[in-house]
């Protein structure tokens, strides 16, 4: 008992900075966003009145939010499964003791070095219809590359944003899955081999179950990233092409400079809180659904 109270002053001193910072920049804004979500402001953004809890459902049901939610969910579906399959495929392919395999591993991890801005601008340059490399090389197969350009065609703009995200996340996925593969005990493969399991059986019955924790982690991280997509959209399409707004994700609806709610603190706060709840729902569902099948260690 005395020890516990004696430890209190140093604990306060050591935790002080973190508690203060997290309080001001994480907890306070969350609480405040929930409060401000009740406000409905006039066009100037100055005079606001309390619209109550109903504003959250109003915002959720509004056409703009529903549209952005649809775009965001589509982006999750376009990026997460493809990113996961590519990452696992590459990691399994490179998980072999071959001469020079380290070079391939470095190449496959390399996109982890690109930031959102760098990756997006790389694809922005490559996909320019007039001068981009892809429009010259591939427009024979995909005419939209040249006219009007993937980023300007309402049907292909979102897949193009997804392509940039998948490429940028590949390095991260590859590194995590490779580490997961390396932690699989080798004797498991040997006993499966002795039991007469072929290559495919060993992959589905040993590799995949043992990779489950890494795959769950990657799935949750990729999903979170997709739900929070802002920079890619700001740099590649600015939420367009208009008038369909086919790439306006929820974060872009909240933070985009030309967003219709740009000056409305109440609506922005409400949309931000809803985004938080949606992310939570995704994370909980993924953990619930996948955790049962995950084998942690031995």
């Amino acid at each position: 008992m005395t020890r516990r109270w004696r430890d209190l002053p140093p604990a306060v001193a050591m935790l002080g900075a973190s508690v203060l910072l997290l309080g001001v920049w994480t907890v306070y804004p969350l609480v405040r966003a929930i409060q401000n979500g009740h406000l409905r402001c006039d066009a100037t953004g100055r005079r606001c009145r309390d619209a109550g809890w109903g504003q959250f459902s109003d915002v959720f049901m509004s056409n703009d939010f529903q549209h952005a939610l649809g775009v965001t969910v589509k982006l999750v579906l376009l990026t997460v499964p493809a990113g996961l399959v590519l990452g696992v495929g590459l990691a399994v392919l490179a998980d072999k003791h071959l001469r020079g395999i380290g070079v391939f591993r470095t190449i496959f991890s390399s996109t982890v070095a690109t930031s959102v801005a760098v990756a997006s601008l790389v694809w922005f340059v490559l996909l320019q219809p007039e001068i981009g490399v892809f429009s010259d090389l591939l427009s024979g197969w995909i005419p939209a590359l040249k006219n009007p350009g993937l980023l300007r065609d309402p049907d292909t703009a979102l897949p193009a944003v997804a392509l940039s995200s998948i490429w940028a996340s590949l390095g991260f996925t590859f590194i995590v899955i490779t580490a997961g593969l390396q932690s699989v005990p080798k004797d498991l493969y040997e006993s499966a081999y002795v039991d007469g399991a072929g290559g495919v059986r060993r992959f589905t019955n040993v590799t995949l179950p043992m990779l489950a924790p890494s795959m769950l982690f990657v799935t949750v991280v990729l999903t979170t990233r997709a739900l929070q997509t802002y920079g890619e959209v700001a740099l590649l399409t600015a939420g367009g092409p208009e008038p369909d707004k086919s790439t306006t994700t929820i974060p872009f609806l909240i933070y985009g400079r030309n967003s219709i709610i740009h000056n409305d603190l109440g609506l922005k706060s409400a949309a931000a809180v809803l985004l938080f709840l949606i992310s939570l729902v995704f994370a909980v569902v993924q953990f619930r659904g996948l955790d049962k099948r995950v084998h942690y260690g031995r």
């Binding site: 109270w5 209190l8 140093p10 604990a11 050591m14 935790l15 900075a17 973190s18 910072l21 920049w25 994480t26 907890v27 306070y28 804004p29 969350l30 405040r32 966003a33 392919l93 490179a94 998980d95 072999k96 071959l98 391939f104 470095t106 190449i107 496959f108 390399s110 982890v112 070095a113 690109t114 930031s115 959102v116 760098v118 601008l121 790389v122 340059v125 320019q128 001068i131 010259d136 490429w167 590949l170 590194i175 995590v176 580490a179 593969l181 699989v184 290559g199 890494s214 929070q228 802002y230 920079g231 909240i254 933070y255 603190l265 922005k268 706060s269 985004l275 938080f276 994370a283 942690y296």
Partner: protein
């Protein structure tokens, strides 16, 4: 590893073909993954006209540094890089200090309510930046921190992930070590500085690398807290090279990209091991 067993079972030429096939597949995929980087790099090394002339721009001939040079001056990239370096350096240092201190309190002290406070800490990890930026921009404004280094740095100085990561390592240090040190009259700060921190150096390296990368690459917060030229980070400033409508200047963007990405690529190659350690900290064991 799955394939190790396969190749052991097959013999002679089959084995050679399999190996060649795997190399071929690896090479093709590596080429696809690297192609965007290669194309942008080569475009940045061409003069304006050549960079627009495909497939000529894809061949490593007639290289020049003119494009990168003019991107450097017209984008004021030196200034942007210094801003990013200063902000990321300060954030990294700050995160290491706050994480080590808080982790020490959670790992070595037994104050009342410790576990409750720790759970609250972990809960803040669930709150994404996308939710808090709306209000944080106002908070920064009320502090007079819009367009300032303080606004860029201070909100990122605490990291729950960092606290969690360092605490995990501190927990592996035997409690008896601390007890013995306490009997010898060694205070908390001295134990932290002389025993706990040196023992966790690899983890601190990984945390530092990660924090630096995260801060260097940050986009949303800097784009909301900085509007003037003087405080822009490289990530925000690159966009300025992208002149709408003027296609002939797209090669300037490639020059800017190379300048912005190069230090990070070099850093990652140099610190590959720390990077892997940090990335997989959350993944391998649940």
């Amino acid at each position: 590893m799955a394939a190790d067993v396969t190749t052991q079972a097959s013999f002679g030429t089959t084995r050679g073909w399999r190996k060649a096939g795997r190399y071929a597949l690896l090479t093709v995929i590596a080429a696809i993954v690297l192609f965007p980087i290669y194309a942008v790099l080569l475009q940045s090394l061409k003069s304006g006209k050549d960079s627009l002339d495909h497939p000529r721009s894809l061949l490593p001939v007639d290289l020049t540094l003119d494009t990168i040079r003019s991107a450097w001056t017209s984008g004021d990239l030196g200034r942007l890089m210094l801003n990013s370096l200063f902000v990321s350096g300060a954030v990294t240092l700050g995160v290491i200090v706050t994480s080590v201190l808080a982790a020490y309190a959670f790992a070595f002290l037994r104050f009342p309510g410790r576990d409750g406070v720790f759970v609250l800490f972990l809960a803040t990890m669930l709150v994404p930046a996308e939710v808090t930026v709306v209000i944080n921009q106002r908070t920064a404004d009320s502090f007079g921190w819009i367009n300032s280094y303080l606004g860029l740095i201070v909100p990122s100085l605490a990291s729950t992930f960092g606290v969690f990561l360092v605490r995990q390592v501190f927990l592996q240090i035997p409690g008896e070590l601390r007890e013995a040190a306490a009997l010898d009259g060694v205070g908390h700060m001295r134990f932290l500085w002389e025993v706990a921190t040196p023992l966790s150096r690899p983890t601190l390296g990984a945390l530092g690398l990660f924090t630096f990368l995260g801060s260097w690459n940050a986009y949303l917060w800097p784009s909301q807290v900085v509007t003037d030229e003087a405080h822009r980070t490289i990530q925000i400033g690159l966009e300025r090279l992208k002149t709408p409508g003027d296609i002939s200047k797209v090669n300037l963007v490639t020059g800017g990209l190379v300048v912005a990405a190069l230090p990070i690529f070099v850093m990652l190659v140099a610190f590959q091991r720390q990077l892997v350690r940090g990335l997989t900290a959350g993944a391998v064991k649940g």
